[in-house]
Symmetry: C2
DNA sequence: TTGATAAACGTTACTCTATAACATATCAAC
DNA sequence: GTTGATATGTTATAGAGTAACGTTTATCAA
């Protein structure tokens, strides 16, 4: 079994992910007049630190250790806020959360989840269910698209 | 690509859904030499009775009332079996389960979930994530595609 | 500046979802 | 009939999520 790789599938300047992610949230909140409070900011940072999904209770443990909140609602409220405003996505398959890789851009998010190293890549897959929905007369309000399998790195490492 | 009409929102001979679903499972299990035990058969029937998703504990309540099992693992084991063999799908968005509308046919299942009446339609959407996955060198093993919104009936009823 | 209002936080307590672990039973094959 | 695989029964617990309440903090208007 291969080691967990904290980055996405591609090598990239990861410090920029965190900096840019928080900056984008900051700008957005200022423009809309909503608050990026310490707990919300910290939760976003925690999720930006890794290109993998983290459970609400895993996040809560970190918050608790840092004195930012000890009970589940603290984590869930921050996650709700960040999700509502598009900075965080929920991975339904994992009951876990991940920072958005394209903050600010409206998009139907799709995810590729590696079952070996737990890396998660976000793709801006557009409306895969639009065809069937139109045929059925169904009005889509939100979409979940998630694939589980092996990332390029783990395909080599684990034959 | 021709969009197939998803099953579930339209009127149809529903008794055939149950009969055919159980018969298909029976045939399959006979051919593969696996057992469609009373609990497994009953769970499949329960899910075939409605084109909506039911939680494991909702199913368990029925099993318990019928003397077929009282503890969670009983329901989860039956659901695992049925899911593994393709007779039941899990709706990740709802943490619930639904009978497969196309038993026996290998397919990547996609679901349209009505938030008003809770009806769930299954569409045989094929490989919506194939493109992004190929581009990333990602090997897909399983896929989740779920859309939530309003079904045709509820669009009229709830304007 | 103060008072009203909304937004956010802190905590308790609980529900729902899911599985680990172990004992018992059933059935097929040798 | 013993063995090994498969399935069930049960206890206990872990993990995920929320309702409800009171307190605090921010925002904005008078």
């Amino acid at each position: 079994m291969s080691a967990k790789q904290p980055l996405g599938f591609d090598a990239h300047d990861h410090s920029a992910c965190i900096t840019d992610g928080v900056a984008a949230a900051d700008d957005y909140c200022t423009r809309l007049g909503v608050q990026l409070t310490p707990v919300r900011r910290r939760v976003l940072e925690i999720l930006l630190e890794a290109h993998r999904a983290r459970g609400a209770y895993e996040i809560l443990d970190i918050l608790r250790a840092e004195g930012l909140g000890a009970q589940p609602p603290v984590a869930y409220r921050a996650l709700d806020f960040l999700t509502k405003h598009g900075f965080v996505h929920k991975i339904e398959r994992l009951n876990a959360f991940i920072a958005c890789a394209h903050p600010g851009q409206s998009h139907a998010a799709a995810f590729l989840i590696c079952r070996s190293c737990e890396a998660v890549a976000e793709s801006m897959g557009q409306g895969a269910l639009d065809g069937p929905a139109a045929a059925a007369g169904f009005q889509i309000e939100s979409e979940v698209m998630e694939a589980e399998g092996l990332c390029p790195k783990c395909r080599e490492d684990t034959p």
